[in-house]
């Protein structure tokens, strides 16, 4: 059916997400790229659950929940960083340097 194109679309979306995370410097954009990757995975789950049963749908809800929680925490952190640094450019944020 539509399995092949669905998986292809999911792969493209995921790659876009990875590329975005790797290349962009803006924390908000980076964050959106991560969401993109998560949703690419969700698409895979949905597509494959046609073959393997309802487990995939359940998983999608898990992922969405986690993504929501992550969005809340992540955006809060980014907001805190912005208040502190007046910027969300990751070039300037390297507190973890050893």
């Amino acid at each position: 059916m539509l399995l092949g194109p669905s998986l292809a679309l999911s792969a493209i979306l995921f790659s876009l997400g990875v590329a975005g995370v790797l290349l962009r410097r803006n924390a908000i954009v980076l964050f959106m790229c991560i969401e993109l990757m998560l949703n690419a995975v969700n698409l895979t789950f949905v597509a494959l659950s046609r073959l393997y049963g309802a487990g995939g749908y359940v998983m999608v809800f898990f992922v969405m929940t986690v993504a929501a929680a992550e969005a809340a925490v992540g955006l809060a952190i980014i907001l805190a960083i912005f208040r502190h640094e007046q910027s969300v450019d990751l070039e300037n944020i390297n507190l973890l340097r050893g």
Partner: protein
């Protein structure tokens, strides 16, 4: 007095120690109470000792009576009680220790009267008697060892009695350390004895040694050598004698009691106590006699050129102890002990006499505000008119130590020399020891005459101001001197040899003690004429020494210490004690301390172990951690890149 009450002899001085120790903190100026407790406890102890002695005599106690007090070290098969052994030898030692001890305590009442540490002094002195009695009464080596180390402790405390002076404190420490080298020997001997015999009690040793040890074998030679090492420490023999002259830093009665009459003779007592072992080890015995003879001569030669009156007597003590070791090393244990007893009398007298001289000199200098040395004989001279009683009594002691008949020293010293000569028949080394002993006898007489002349004869050199204040001390100090004078003069009666019409009373008394060793020592009879010849030679050496010493010193131009010229040539070597102290310091003490400081501590401990290994490993881990931390750039992009590459690689491995 029942023998089982022997613990009272120890209990009284212990009580004295406790009372005086408490007074030293609470009421240091309660001199009367201190004197009563200090001297009274000793006199009580002496009375008990006398009672014990009489009981041993009347009851003919031959087998040692063991008086057990409590179990001390009961460990499996090893079992040591705190127990006292009463036998003829212990009875003799009891009398000597408490008798001479009482006299010296009494003397101290006068001598230390004005000292701020009066109570502390008597506490130490009483404690010393406690340990000395434990030493002579102990029924086993470990109990003896309590006393052995305990007297060392008291010696340490009393030498450093005036501790504010660094030299005194150092002398005390030196004495304790050198004694400890000897104690090492005693400990090893105990371990070896326990391992081979399975007992450390004297009765057990006497019983088991003949059964389990090979006469002349390695085991017994080793044991006796280590025991003798202990004796060289405690009894100040070569090579461990250097502490005794320094020990003169203590108060003079202490020198008389501890460093002349009692403690330093403990080594001789130990050899006598374990006589069966020494009789079974002829090689050790020869060594002991050799060391004794060498020490006797060596120390006497140093005594020839000393100016400090106490130093002369100290070297004299070392030398006389050498005689005792010649005696016990020759196998005539009785003669060694006999000399121990007579030496206790005349050397205590000499020291107390010196004490009375120093007391007088000290007071005179104190009264005339002079800072001259009150012990330097060059500052004395002509004291006989100021201290007549002391003068007479010290001459008695001098004649006794020089071996002039009929004074006590003659009998004891002559017996030792004769025995050494006799032993020469089967071991020619002993002829050499005899000759050395004879030479030492000459030197002894010489330096004693020199001491007497420099102190009492000729012109007085104390200075006009001090001279007016010179006077004999009171009866509390001269009284004990007189008693000791009588004993020094007549002590020879104890053991007059057959050749002079006696019947060896002391030898008969001590026979049961030395019975176990009798089988290993053949006794050679002397022809009468040889014996008289030997007696004549000994007397001649003594008299010649006295006469020559007297004349040489009287004729020499003596100047007060302040004006005296330094010695030159060999005299200087003698005055500097052959530089043995300096040699020990350079060769042993400083290298050990230096090695410990720079090699062991700074290089090995701080540098190698702590610096390189411990902190080094810490630094190593820190370095590795630093390298790892370089991967943490802080750039999120890098982390993601690593993550992505890693994920792809893992997928590749899993799927590919």
């Amino acid at each position: 007095m029942p023998v089982h009450l022997v613990w009272l002899t120890v209990a009284f001085p212990l009580l004295g120690f406790l009372v005086n120790g408490a007074l030293a903190f609470a009421r240091p100026n309660a001199r009367r109470a201190v004197s009563v407790a200090g001297v009274g406890s000793l006199v009580a102890s002496f009375v008990v000792s006398l009672g014990i002695f009489l009981t041993v005599r009347s009851a003919h106690i031959v087998e040692p009576e063991i008086v057990k007090l409590w179990a001390w070290l009961p460990v499996d098969r090893f079992h040591i009680d705190i127990a006292f052994q009463v036998d003829p030898l212990a009875a003799v030692m009891l009398l000597v220790v408490t008798g001479v001890g009482s006299l010296i305590h009494l003397f101290s009442v006068g001598y230390m009267q004005e000292d701020a540490g009066y109570a502390r002094y008597f506490a130490y002195l009483n404690l010393f008697i406690v340990f000395m009695l434990v030493l002579v009464l102990g029924s086993s080596l470990p109990v003896l060892f309590i006393g052995w180390e305990g007297v060392g402790l008291c010696s340490y405390l009393l030498i450093g009695f005036w501790f504010s002076d660094t030299a005194n404190a150092s002398a005390g420490k030196k004495a304790f350390l050198m004694n400890r080298i000897g104690d090492f020997g005693v400990l090893i001997a105990m371990f070896q004895l326990w391992t081979t015999l399975g007992t450390l009690e004297f009765v057990g040793i006497a019983r088991e040694a003949p059964r389990l040890l090979q006469p002349g074998g390695t085991a017994v030679t080793l044991i006796t050598l280590f025991l003798f090492l202990g004796c060289t420490g405690k009894s100040a023999q070569i090579p461990l004698y250097t502490w005794l002259p320094d020990a003169m830093a203590g108060p003079t009665p202490v020198s008389a009691l501890i460093h002349a009459a009692t403690m330093v003779t403990a080594g001789v007592y130990l050899v006598a106590r374990t006589n069966v072992l020494f009789a079974m080890a002829p090689a050790t015995s020869t060594l002991i006699a050799g060391v004794g003879a060498l020490t006797a001569l060596f120390a006497a030669s140093i005594g020839l050129r000393q100016y400090d009156i106490k130093k002369v007597l100290a070297y004299s003590t070392v030398s006389q102890l050498g005689y005792m070791f010649v005696g016990v090393g020759t196998g005539v244990f009785v003669s060694g002990l006999f000399h121990l007893v007579t030496h206790a009398f005349f050397k205590a007298l000499l020291f107390l006499g010196a004490g009375s001289v120093i007391h007088a000199m000290h007071h005179a200098y104190h009264a005339s505000h002079s800072h001259d040395d009150a012990q330097d004989m060059r500052n004395m001279g002509g004291l006989r008119s100021y201290l007549p009683k002391t003068w007479v009594l010290m001459w008695i002691a001098t004649l006794a130590i020089a071996g002039v008949p009929p004074f006590s020293g003659f009998f004891s010293k002559d017996e030792i020399l004769t025995a050494a000569f006799v032993r020469g028949a089967d071991n020619p080394w002993y002829y050499l020891f005899y000759a050395m002993g004879l030479a030492a006898a000459f030197a002894t007489a010489f330096y004693m005459a020199r001491l007497m002349v420099m102190t009492f004869h000729g012109e007085n050199r104390s200075g006009a101001a001090a001279r007016e204040h010179l006077h004999e001390p009171g009866a509390i100090m001269t009284g004990p001197l007189i008693v000791l004078g009588v004993l020094s003069a007549l002590g020879g009666i104890l053991n007059v040899p057959a050749a002079l019409g006696g019947h060896h009373a002391l030898a008969g008394w001590l026979r049961p003690v030395f019975a176990p060793s009798a089988g290993y020592l053949q006794v050679e009879e002397l022809r009468g004429s040889t014996e008289y010849l030997l007696i004549a030679a000994a007397v001649l050496a003594g008299v010649a020494g006295l006469v020559l010493g007297y004349r040489a010193t009287l004729n020499s131009r003596l100047l007060p210490a302040r004006e005296a010229l330094p010695d030159t040539g060999f005299a200087r070597v003698l005055a500097n004690k052959y530089y043995v102290d300096e040699a020990y310091d350079r060769v042993i003490v400083r290298p050990v301390v230096g090695f410990s400081r720079s090699v062991l501590w700074r290089f090995f401990d701080q540098g190698l172990v702590d610096g390189l290994l411990v902190n080094g490993s810490a630094r190593l881990f820190r370095g590795v951690g630093w390298l790892g931390s370089q991967l943490q750039t802080g750039q999120v992009g890098f982390y993601v890149l690593f993550f992505a590459v890693g994920a792809v690689w893992i997928l590749h491995v899993l799927l590919g």
